[in-house]
Symmetry: C2
Subunit: 307 residues, 2 copies
Amino acid sequence: MTALFDRVALIGVGLIGSSLSHAMRAHGLAVHVSAHARSAATRSKVKDLGLAHSVHDSAAAAVVDADLVILCSPVGSYGALAAEIAPALKPGAILTDVGSVKAAVAKDIGPHVPAGVHFIPGHPIAGTEQSGPESGFATLFANRWCILTPLPGCDPVALAKLETFWRRCGSDVEVMTPEHHDLVLAITSHLPHLIAYNIVATAADLEEVTSSEVIKYSAGGFRDFTRIAASDPTMWRDVFLNNREAVLEMLGRFTEDLSALQRAIRWGDGETLFTLFSRSREIRRGIIAAGQDTAAPNFGRNPEKSQ
Amino acid sequence: MTALFDRVALIGVGLIGSSLSHAMRAHGLAVHVSAHARSAATRSKVKDLGLAHSVHDSAAAAVVDADLVILCSPVGSYGALAAEIAPALKPGAILTDVGSVKAAVAKDIGPHVPAGVHFIPGHPIAGTEQSGPESGFATLFANRWCILTPLPGCDPVALAKLETFWRRCGSDVEVMTPEHHDLVLAITSHLPHLIAYNIVATAADLEEVTSSEVIKYSAGGFRDFTRIAASDPTMWRDVFLNNREAVLEMLGRFTEDLSALQRAIRWGDGETLFTLFSRSREIRRGIIAAGQDTAAPNFGRNPEKSQ
């Protein structure tokens, strides 16, 4: 099978960039992978781990002659990066990204994109709580969705080629507008992270309960929240700064619902609690049926009990 | 090794009761296990699964001659159960429970306990999102903490024997007051469950985002919350009805902290967000170091990436 692209440039090599490198190698998607990372330490790790054929100090140098350029750094860096690489982009190249917000990204990158370059924002809904070039693995995208948010006038051939790229990485692909993406992800990803970060902070600040008690008895539920609250702080700061309206909207609804629950607890309204608690199992079953989570109890933490 | 107890009675055989049955068999802790379950369907399953040597229609019949009686039903049932079994309890027997709240349980059961019976409330911090007699397994309690909350005047010999029982089930044991237990669990277990139930309800009620989209893109973080929100609704209703003050106190702090985060997002205060997000990794590391969670990314959902 011939490679899908002659040359792919990864700008930023953290969890997603390094996983893309592994996936491209596993599926023969690129003849040459060039990479840029901002810090010398990361560039050195990228070399040591063999994640790219060429590693570049500057982003502009990394994108020269690339047929596909993927921005894999925190979304707050995209505007400046786009300005820097624009003059070096090859006509006909596809420029995409993996950022967790899409309307702000389209606005930050769009104006810099030269005519003849196909800019198609993207977002693979895949990740772990780990970060850095050593955290990636080839199957991160397998059976996960990748959302592409092409802008008006997007070249259908370039879009189809980028879809093929993600499918060959193991993903399913969905196309929607940047605005709808941001609303969907606000509830399925951004609000969950915000709440997880918040409860960990609340727990850390208690006087009556020590941190060591919080840690010891975390198997009661708290430990699940600490996993996603261990995600990369820079990435998540940028998500909240760049999807403000949708996050505030979802947060408002969440808080409203939480007030109703609080009232039910205060007034001892067991029926309201029971009815609400009974609704959740259906969504959980849907997620498992859709192949988006394991059916094993405790996420499979108890391997001896696998059903 | 001789069995620790001649006869142990399980009152209620769900996830915890059935896991205790498996653990007792695995570690030779009882010569005879008697069981009572309220519904005929559950009693039939208990027989089919071989979870007890004798299965009884009435709780009082199940506790006759038992040296250890363990209440394993939702905490809302304890008061009536205690009244029913009290006349049948053997002098010198230990009566305990596995409920997720302790002050209310001590208050509900305490007045019914006959002189000569040793009542010691308990709570194993272990579970999965599954329920019912078929969901149990012998290692559920391994490396998890079991909290005992003996009341003033508790017999130290009985307490030591119950501690031994839990240690032989694989648990570590900690002793504290019922009130402190309720405060600790409010933050490590009750509030996480409340928040998880709430966000699942918020997501289910959206108009702009469909349930099918919530399910498809749940790998962005939401799916983690659906696991604990799939827990038994009756059990959790009773927890919130019986630990009201501590839960409302923790919820008040959580909401206060969330308002501060909301404000930081609204005002674009990236520094506040970054500082807060950076604090969480340490608690996560503590939980992993304490053996209370797996270090594998995504809770080990990606077995090919185990470090």
